[in-house]
Symmetry: C2
Subunit: 343 residues, 2 copies
């Protein structure tokens, strides 16, 4: 019943050349001055028999795959999952499909992934790049493949970036803690050279130094498995009872951190004030609710995909790479309130 039709079959059935069919199907009938009557006849027939051109063949011929590659750190992380959802919606609307992968921040893996995507002739790339991937991105760029980077950037690579004002966000949040009378504020983060992580540290450190406070930075190793994050944080918080506040550098660390706090029975904010980067259901619903820096997820996604679609739609005109820096929102909640220290 389903012997997949080809454009040849259609041409034969209709006694028309396949070129004509091709033109009509690609909306170039007008341009090629093909008779309205014929156009109708073809369209009607095509619809009737349910013919759909083989997009593999189209891609092979045209070099365009209509697929966008999305490379994030971890698709199961809510931040990236939400971005993925938004990007997907917009991409499908524009006739693009999304192929995705999680880099796990692994440079080697990401290199392989990029190579695979190239083989597939992906039209454009959206990447939250791991460290050390500069060359591979450069190479894409050199071949004129559009690349939009987000979440972190690669200072040496000239392409489009969507970022948030990481440095200011942590500066601001840290200052808030200081204003609440906190002095021993630890910043817990992943050990990472990624720009966004470094910028966050910078903002925190600046705020502390400005008030002559000693920055206290605790790094944990990135790992998808929560246990490997919970364990060092547990040890750390157990040991450093002198802390009066803690700033978690990402949502993942934050939710692990809260599990530790809960398990150790630490009182928030009286024993320990808490602030987190990234807002997230858990933080809003925790009790007390956790003060958090909220990234404008929709806006990030929107800018990313708009920028890319824009480049995809006008491949010829050169567009200067741009960096868009978005503002975050600081949601102050009970977890960082001044408690007893307000003299």
């Amino acid at each position: 019943m389903k012997k997949k039709l080809s454009i040849n079959d259609i041409a034969k059935s209709l006694n028309v050349s396949k070129t004509t069919i091709s033109f009509i199907l690609n909306g170039r009938a007008q341009e090629m001055r093909i008779g309205d009557e014929l156009v109708d006849r073809v369209l009607k027939f095509v619809n009737e028999v349910g013919f759909r051109p083989n997009s593999l063949a189209q891609s092979l011929r045209s070099g365009k795959s209509n697929i966008i590659g999305l490379m994030v750190e971890d698709i199961s992380n809510p931040f990236f999952a939400k971005i993925a959802r938004y990007i997907e919606d917009r991409a499908y609307q524009s006739g693009y499909k999304i192929i995705y992968c999680s880099t796990n921040n692994d440079t080697k893996k990401t290199q392989d992934l990029i190579a695979m995507y190239r083989d597939r002739h992906i039209d454009g790339y959206i990447i939250a790049p791991p460290e050390g991937i500069e060359e591979d991105i450069e190479s894409l760029l050199k071949d004129n493949l559009p690349v939009v980077l987000f979440d972190r950037n690669l200072p040496k690579v000239e392409t489009d970036y969507i970022e948030i004002d990481n440095r200011f966000s942590t500066y601001n949040a840290t200052s808030h803690l200081i204003e609440q009378g906190k002095k021993n504020i630890a910043y817990i983060t992943f050990s990472s050279k990624q720009t966004q992580m470094q910028a966050r540290i910078k903002g925190y450190t600046n705020a502390m130094k400005e008030k002559n406070l000693q920055p206290i930075i605790k790094e944990v190793v990135f790992n998808q498995n929560e246990d490997f994050i919970i364990e060092p944080i547990t040890a750390y918080l157990k040991k450093h009872t002198e802390l009066d506040a803690v700033f978690f550098g990402t949502d993942h660390i934050g939710s692990c951190g809260l599990k530790v706090i809960q398990a150790l029975g630490i009182k928030v904010p009286s024993d320990l004030a808490v602030v987190a980067f990234d807002d997230y259901d858990v933080f809003k619903l925790y009790s007390p609710p956790i003060t958090a820096v909220a990234q404008p997820i929709e806006k990030i996604a929107e800018n990313v995909i708009s920028l890319l679609l824009n480049k995809l739609n006008s491949p010829t005109v050169y567009q200067k790479p741009q960096t868009i820096t978005l503002k975050t929102t600081f949601n102050i909640r009970a977890s960082s309130k001044g408690s007893l220290v307000t003299q």
Copy 2:
């Protein structure tokens, strides 16, 4: 610098026929009795110049795309995002890439999506099917395309399913609430004919009826936007103060429900005991922690992808469709504890 090489270029450079190159590249050298020395020479050269076959052309020729289509309700839902991550890892290991989309439970959208995937000659399908999609799935099956369904099933369609024991899970959780002395237990769910949702209702209803209690079912309309879920739940809980327990039918409803409970200042479990389907960071960290039915996410994903890869690897042999039903875990926490009612 990068004038993408083709197998022809390689053949020419090496003064060998492209057939030979193709055989060598596809590991059929032995079989074709090609000299070891030549094999080495070709492999070495290919590596040197970084030649990679154009997979579009391969796909066109072979009919295999090495792409798996993943269709979930919403990729930004943590349940699906986690499954996606696991499936991705396994698929990439086996040389398959994943193209995904969110159906949003929209039948028409899903039909379009399936059609698009077919055009792309996707090798296999993993689908959490919306209602009314039976025919489209049948049509895939008829063309011998492997399809694995999960999360809900389509009773009329004969293919592979990975499910959990929904009915027993809600029966069990409801019984637990009853044992704690609760009598007015509301079950809040999405209005949906999907099998898993219906099975959950059934389990709840059975448990209630068994103890001569009146089932109380509140349905809300599925919507990605939380506000449209929070609003009706707020109205409902405000009105029905006689309730002493509530059972949220999904993670999404659960987290919305908790927001309502928090906003209304309802005390858990003394005013209202709470149980949720799906476990989730929010439930574990809420205070009090929420009793929840945990789906074995990894196992689901593992079974799904194993089943599909299995079919993909042995396309010829007929395999009887199977339904795998996985057990859930019931995590009892403070939110459902008996409180004062224990006489």
